[in-house]
Symmetry: D2
Subunit: 263 residues, 4 copies
């Protein structure tokens, strides 16, 4: 019995000889010169044009994720560029590959934690009770609460109050932001440690406020970092560090073997 | 004689416990809530805040490159997501890996061609003579002129006049745009074929107008497509096509072998 | 207080002007022309030269994972190659990015499941009881038992009995292979469905027999598939399918939008 | 006029419920336990089973490319693994992305140079004249001759004489190996510098001897390095260096900015 083919369908964009339409809008006539890149990302993702408030908040969220200094991701991209400068796209790809559970994943973890405690559409929940239960559940299972704590930014992560302020100004500081704050306070109380809400916790909470599904939140970090990495590769092209890092690491890493080998 | 270490240095960003600075601006205070994503990309890349005109034009250029339908890049990303939905970053990376010579490379090729004909800072060049010489040089060597022609968008690519109009409104339609137009006209005349300036040609010319080095132009396509691919992966997560494509291709591709194998 | 640097050290290889040593062996003199690729992989991974039995079994395991037809991974690689034929390495990378939880991950899952039930070094365990408990634990949590079942290869996966036979001939069919077989039988009994041990289950069990840590087992699939993908890309270079797949998918996916757009 | 679909076809492998066939051979019955990994790679690529001589030489060639110490590729993979240990496949992919023009590309360049001078099937060519012309053509255009010179391995690369000796023992040291040697000698004479044939030059020449197309030669480096990188990631999982490298680089790279920022 042969397999029955299923339809293949995408609702994002279409082209005809004289038109290019994205999410129902005419790209040249209704988008170019009228939207900024963050708004277009919002349209691409949601199928809806952003309101001014959504625009301001979404742009702020994605910008927060663009540039974090000389990260492992930036080093991976620069190393790749040193070997294949003719394939800049592959250097960006290499830099993105590590945006997983350790760094960007906590953003997704925070959003999923908040949605699990407070499903979309919930009204009138007891947020303090949810915060206590959430922190307790993580502690019982020996798990870190996602979105809290930062090795450098103590006692507060300077991005968090600013992001929450913008969210409030834009009418998007509701129960998810409040719950994240309560979870942070409860985690500090329960652990006795300073656990500021970090940028990934703030972003996770705001993504819930804006209604984005938890599994796509990581994607905001990925698209943002792609921009950041192109900046790093441009710098690498005129002020390289990759070969110097490589030489230093190689020298040190195998010194104990070369010593033996040369005897 | 041991190797002499060279300094390792980046001028993009730095963090202290209470501050995050990108290109000399305070991220929370001077950037978040004040800039849009395209402007921040411009800052990340150039170290300069965009003027309103640069902002409008740069946002339009990058937006042009975000979404091109179900491209090979989108298919690669969707296929990857089907196998590793827990690693969305790797699916975006896979989609970016193919932004090379065939598709996005023509943008870089156009910029490099224009810079070669008209080095930055040139005044009062005979653009018509440069266009003729450029087209002739490509034809003699059997090379396609980058940035011209499109399989679908005929007789004009609808993005091109719009991008050039925005460039003019923003004061960035100078000799590079004019030269690209002359090259397009000369290539049509010489070949007798319809060769509209396509979006990559328009983007290449505008990147020269804005002073971006030719080797980073591809990066605009890469950062833009990262945004587009996150949109495709969000759609794939609720309206998948990858497994259906796979099944159809696998069935057809090896039918001739299975026929033999089953005898 | 400045951070205290930690040493950076690798024990894999070192080079001096006239020597290249890998895992303590002289590459030109002791490896080239004397080892096969699977044995060298074993040496690279374990630091030990494979015995003839380990060589035969490890080569068989990795070979099993090289080629699985026109998979999503092969399609992603071919799509990428169509866009960037000058960067074959990026096409292979794109194809590898999807070797995650859905396909190759089950191999890692099987190994980890077996190690969890039967920690390395365990003697005299009641394997039937462990199999029952393992299947019951998966069923209670609604989880699929990794390494069982195949959409096509029914009622048996033809690779499994062959791999287990080679393992037995090589003295590596001990408690892990037996436990995997008992788990398969118990899962079939409990579910009432045909659940043959598939190749990933067989490979997972053999990896435990050989003492490989569970978290590296996926790596065998990755290294193997890299070989397979180079084969696909060579075929794509002379008998392409990527552009045809793209055209078909693009036509079908947006037909409903183009219909509207053209009205 | 609708597009006419073209057939989609692959000749590599096929599966039926009870059979898996690769290149016409039954995988369980004719391959597993009988072939080594290098031989299977040869079969996958060429569609032919390797002779004992082809087996020995091809295994040596690919093994040569597996492990080159703590390269930029290994650093990129380790950095990626530090961020996404759950996606080992993406770490390998990141490491492969940089196998481009700077490192592995010279192998492809050497093969293409040799094929250009001596097309397949040429008989009785004047190899010395070809070598002189080839070197002269590179010098006139200011190009490096691919496959010559090494920063560390001087005055000879110890892999080269061994690879050429194995090639000779296997009956594959013909005109391409001879031409490469003559090119090396002529380049040394013309430049007055020590320019030993390096491993990529030796591999390029042997790939021509074996009849592999120039554009797939890079693929041997890619498949080989995938194996090497899995070894590095296994080591990184128990003896990490990525975070230490990151910390050192980050500290040093932005020290000049932090100094200013804290004033």
């Amino acid at each position: 019995m042969p397999r029955q083919p299923q339809p293949i369908r995408s609702d994002i964009a279409c082209s005809t000889p004289d038109r290019i339409t994205v999410r129902g809008l005419d790209l040249p006539g209704q988008i170019l010169g009228r939207m900024n890149l963050g708004d277009f990302a919002y349209l691409q993702l949601t199928g809806q044009a952003a309101t001014p408030e959504q625009s301001r908040l979404f742009n702020a969220v994605v910008i927060t994720l663009v540039e974090h200094g000389i990260t492992p991701s930036a080093i991976a991209a620069r190393m790749t560029y040193a070997g294949a400068p003719e394939a800049l796209q592959a250097a960006v790809a290499a830099g993105l590959c590590g945006l997983g559970s350790v760094f960007v994943g906590s953003m997704e973890g925070a959003a999923k934690m908040l949605y699990a405690a407070l499903p979309q559409g919930t009204q009138g929940a007891d947020l303090e009770a949810l915060a206590s239960a959430t922190v307790a559940a993580h502690r019982e299972r020996g798990l870190t609460v996602p979105g809290l704590g930062h090795p450098l930014h103590k006692p507060i992560d300077p991005r968090t109050p600013r992001l929450f302020a913008i969210a409030a100004e834009c009418g998007h500081a509701g129960d998810y932001v409040r719950l994240m704050q309560l979870i942070g306070a409860e985690a500090e109380r329960a652990s006795g440690k300073s656990l500021p809400i970090n940028a990934t916790g703030a972003v996770g909470a705001i993504c819930c406020e804006m209604g984005f599904p938890g599994h796509i939140v990581r994607g905001f970090g990925v698209m943002a970092r792609a921009i950041g990495l192109v900046g790093h590769l441009l710098e690498e092209s005129h002020s390289p560090m990759a070969v110097e890092i490589w030489q230093r690491v190689e020298d040190e890493a195998s010194a104990h073997l070369r010593g033996t080998g040369q005897d």
